[in-house]
Symmetry: none
Subunit: 414 residues, 2 copies
């Protein structure tokens, strides 16, 4: 069975927005052994959505719609799908009540247009949406003598994902032929894409039954591998074998083989070592702290930190001696070291991180160009400093720096 | 005339890669007054590309293909388009020579499959590719009694962009009716999507010559409006009129009518008022500081801040009295107020922000559930506190809280 993903929304036909739900949906469909053959993006226009739905029914077995289920007049997916399938819409009083309840619970007043979200295509199974007002819908049937599945999902990614996990995944699994597909994402720091590929290509090329894609993300390389076999065990064993060889080749540079983020890995290590961490950041402006605290439960090991943009604050919150800044400048190995040591002492943590650099686009000089960043990690045994010159714009430089800082913590605790 | 963008490549149907060329192409087409009505993504499969081409010809005037022009067996765009249009492919000896020359110049040996890239659809204009071996192709004709344009472009973004600028843009301009298209993005905080739509729909519906899309993003609503007229002036005047009426209706809730981010707007206001800002964050964990410092030049008004996860650190870095935390708890109006006032005093800034709450998923209680956040803004005139109960997961709650905190600064300075 093949699938088509249809994203509905005029904003997705502007230069400003992109459909990202399809990446998530593709990943989930692939785990069921279902491949995506087409992706279509269409605006909030009834005639156009009908056209697209017709074309999709003629070429795909599973149609997954995202978007166009909201309360406004622009939200037309229900209407278009019903019209294409020759079915009616019926307002479901239970859903109307659920929407009203949701508004009441949040202390909001429901405007009348919201009831539109309770319109259900006749024969459809309603898929409850725990995170929003518009429920999903699941319609099964036959067209051109073939079994077809049409699934309507809300556009907001957190609603779509939760709804897919809770109500769509298992329903789909029951409908598609059983296949075992295994996939892994190996994440690598400390090396470039071509250097990495030169070392791992001789390994993965021997695994002709495994699909391997190498992707460069800012501050890391990702190797995506997947294979399909007759059983989960066979698929997983085959990937274990490949991943084992790659990890052997790349050593410490591999930080995850299950897709975990670097902040999640740092979280595991800190908890495993019963260690605590504090951060004093200048050029990253809170990004390192933000990434650390994005992990649930981070209060167990992350005590806090200081965002010290001004020189005075570097002294006041992280105890950096003012004369050190005068002599070496705020962007220097010495100040990075003092930030890490100062914040560690102030917060009484096992480890202290300090980051200072030039994020740009302004503020660079011949001696200290945009992209120059010093990262320091203080511990009982002493302080390590890493100097880097990152390429790219402000956002990339800040991201690279946060990645380097977190990676120092990981390597320290390994 | 409307356009459809068709991206060809099986890698674009995996969870790892996305078609980004279409954003660039959409922007360029919009400047010509051409709207993109559909985007389609299809794999390297002849039958599928033919199907997609047929559907596109039936609904769109201009078809722009990207990808599938390379030398491998998987590159099938030329074949599929020729087959759909009922035209032949002819190998062009001049292009063969040009490809051979390109290889010789780079000191490479040409493998025989490269000559495939010299196949030209009969009647097509060849568009030279300065950055790669595969030229583009331009085919004009009639189908279903309508003028149709089919353009084939190479997939690598730097080749596609250079080729579009040099050979497609002006050719297209000569073909499409002279039109001027203007677009705006109005950003709104402090109200929900349906409440917002209920107030603005009566206005934008009177502007039948303007397309309006309403979008809910976390913590804000966006209204995308665009129109086309005979002149730039007429288009801009018409949007000025609509935007003016919407701003009048929504007042302070509109924070931008040119797409600027909230942190960018806060940046303008702080500089305009010659004001400075500091931040003490608990549940947002650095996100507010990170957003503020993502704006280039933010060191002019953002002095710094503290990420105070532990109670001790709230006292140490932001001078929150320890007994206040004991009596009211870390998540309380009193502690939010003390955070804002403490950090403001410590940093000597015009304004001080304090944020404390329960980001979840753990740590909630009946009295203080997940999503409860207190936001405080301290200034010379006193301290304002806003209590909110945000829905969603950890990432959304943190984002909502950062949005609310920044919005308090904006409203204070307006």
């Amino acid at each position: 069975m093949n699938a088509e993903i249809i994203a509905v929304g005029s904003e997705l036909l502007t230069p400003f927005r992109q459909d990202t739900n399809s990446l998530y949906l593709t990943e989930k469909l692939n785990t069921l052994g279902v491949e995506v053959s087409f992706k279509t993006i269409v605006g909030d226009n009834l005639k156009d959505i009908v056209r697209v739905t017709k074309a999709a029914l003629s070429r795909s077995d599973i149609l997954i719609f995202s978007g166009g289920l909201g309360p406004t007049e622009d939200d037309l997916t229900r209407e278009a799908v019903a019209q294409t399938l020759g079915l009616h819409l019926k307002r479901d009083p239970d859903i109307v009540q659920a929407i009203e309840r949701r508004f009441t619970e949040h202390g909001w007043k429901m405007s009348p247009n919201n009831v539109k979200q309770a319109d259900v295509i006749s024969g459809a199974t309603v898929l409850p949406n725990a995170n929003g007002t518009a429920p999903g819908q699941w319609i099964g049937g036959r067209s051109d003598g073939r079994e077809k599945l049409v699934v309507l999902l809300p556009g907001p990614p957190h609603e779509l994902k939760a709804l897919f996990e809770s109500s769509v995944l298992e329903r789909l699994r029951a409908k598609v032929p059983k296949q075992s597909l295994a996939a892994r994402v190996i994440k690598i720091t400390g090396m470039g894409e071509s250097a990495c590929d030169a070392r791992v290509a001789p390994i993965y090329k021997r695994f002709t039954d495994v699909d391997t894609t190498i992707l460069a993300a800012p501050g890391e390389i990702q190797l995506h591998v997947h294979t399909r076999k007759d059983s989960d065990e066979a698929a997983n064993n085959r990937l274990d074998e490949l991943v084992g060889l790659i990890e052997e080749e790349l050593g410490d540079n591999v930080y995850s083989d299950n897709g975990d983020s670097l902040e999640q890995i740092v979280s595991y290590f800190l908890q495993m070592r019963d260690a605590t961490l504090s951060v004093a950041e200048s050029c990253t402006g809170g990004l390192v702290a933000e990434r650390l605290t994005s992990v649930s439960g981070s209060s167990r090991y992350f005590i806090g930190g200081a965002v010290v943009y001004s020189n005075e604050l570097k002294t006041q919150l992280a105890d950096v001696p003012a004369d050190l800044i005068d002599v070496y400048g705020a962007v220097s190995e010495q100040v990075a070291r003092a930030l890490a040591e100062g914040i560690r002492k102030k917060c009484g943590t096992t480890l202290g991180l300090g980051v200072t650099g030039v994020a740009g686009p302004t503020g660079g000089s011949a001696e200290k160009p945009v992209g120059l960043v010093f990262h320091a990690l203080a511990s009982e045994g002493g302080t390590e400093v890493i100097k880097r010159n990152f390429p790219g714009d402000r956002a990339r430089i800040r991201w690279f720096a946060s990645q380097q800082a977190l990676d120092m913590v990981r390597r320290k605790l390994m």
